[in-house]
Subunit: 238 residues, 2 copies
């Protein structure tokens, strides 16, 4: 690899340069395979150790084989997985917007990735993200999403505008909400989830048509936002 | 703090010494408060920055105020939270064992902590851990559990022996299991969850009386074991 190549890839660790270059990094065979299956055209270039050659030669991907030392320089992972790819950032348009998940100020990359993975699993048609959510191309989000970034359409929006224009139920997790296990839930909806520490912001709470909550059966103070999202999506889909 | 004190606390970062000294570390106000609420007698000693004095003086806890530099030396966190406590390791006996969660070789500390937090929330009476599960007193487990370690009885056991002796339904998440949304589930049960990569080990699968599975509504390859636990516990409790 040339020094320039290394520098360019390193710059993609930062949001500013991802935006400028319209590229982001994915790492590991699993996520690359997810991308290949869903949006192969987005993979621009693969960098891999020789040890990955077996499966890579069966793909049509452009691969540069590099040394472990070079990989060390460009990886975003603590334990690099032997293969890394540069992808383009264009987001896929939602084909329909029946079942939407709206995220208000989700800031932890691990939570965001987990929620995108859930959205993919439960067949959410589109994820709406408030402007101050963490960047979904943040490497930690990408890794935690397990490639869901290639299967779920996402859109950064003015959530206030978006929710005020909605003409379907807006479910929001609020402490005093209706028991989610007895509430009658439709899949044509927007499920609104709030920030890790502060919940759904007051400016957005007014748009909730159906407040719901997950009853506690034991002890413990709370469920984290990713877990709550999983249980609510599961309830909406079941 | 004396050098000896610092060394002793540092040694608790390792399982071997936790076992030897029968002590483990908890950090942050939230977890200490959880402990105070549930098993205050287990807190042996608190180390805190002066900035924590306000709330600590309202407790009866033995506190040594230390410098930020001292805290740096004993903390297990990347971003220390200003207060750390040493607790005893005795596990609480389960008062009843109606609703049990059995964990087979859960190895990721974050997953283990998250699952304990879920067990607490959903009122699991006892968590059975296979011998090769990660140590629940591992600092990363303790942090991820958000104090659930003080509210959920846990026991390391020979799972094979334990499951073979059970006389109630044993639910296990298997790919070919019955749709969890239509299965009729009782709370008098053992829910068996398997390893992150390999699932439930073949030696234990034979004990599953009711295989269940979470249907996929969209794309994505899988749910992680903590998320699957959350959804299954939610289904059992609802």
């Amino acid at each position: 690899m040339t020094n320039q190549e290394i520098k360019t890839i390193q710059s993609l660790h930062k949001k500013k340069f991802r935006k400028e270059l319209n590229r982001f990094i994915i790492e590991g065979r699993k996520i690359i395979e997810q991308s290949l299956e869903n949006q192969p055209e987005r993979i621009q270039q693969v960098y891999a150790l020789e040890s990955e050659q077996n499966w890579l030669t069966e793909t049509a991907l452009p691969v540069t084989y590099i040394s472990a030392r070079e990989l060390e320089k460009i990886t975003v992972l603590q334990h690099p997985q032997g293969v890394l790819a540069i992808c383009t950032m264009e987001t896929s348009q939602a084909e329909n917007t029946t079942f939407q998940l709206a995220l208000d100020t989700i800031q932890d990359p691990g939570n965001m990735g987990t929620i995108l993975r859930l959205a993919s699993w439960f067949g959410v048609d589109e994820v709406l993200l408030s402007i101050d959510c963490v960047d979904i191309y943040n490497p930690k989000v990408v890794q935690a999403s397990m490639g869901a970034i290639f299967t779920v359409p996402t859109r950064y929006v003015d959530l206030e505008k978006e929710l005020s224009a909605a003409n379907k139920p807006i479910y929001g997790a609020l402490l005093e909400g209706e028991n989610v296990y007895t509430a009658s839930l439709k899949k044509e909806c927007i499920l609104l989830m709030g920030n890790e520490g502060n919940g759904i912001s007051p400016a957005l709470q007014q748009f909730i048509s159906d407040p719901i909550s997950i009853p506690k059966f034991g002890k413990g103070e709370s469920l984290n936002v990713a877990m709550a999202s999983g249980i609510l999506l599961s309830e909406i889909c079941r």
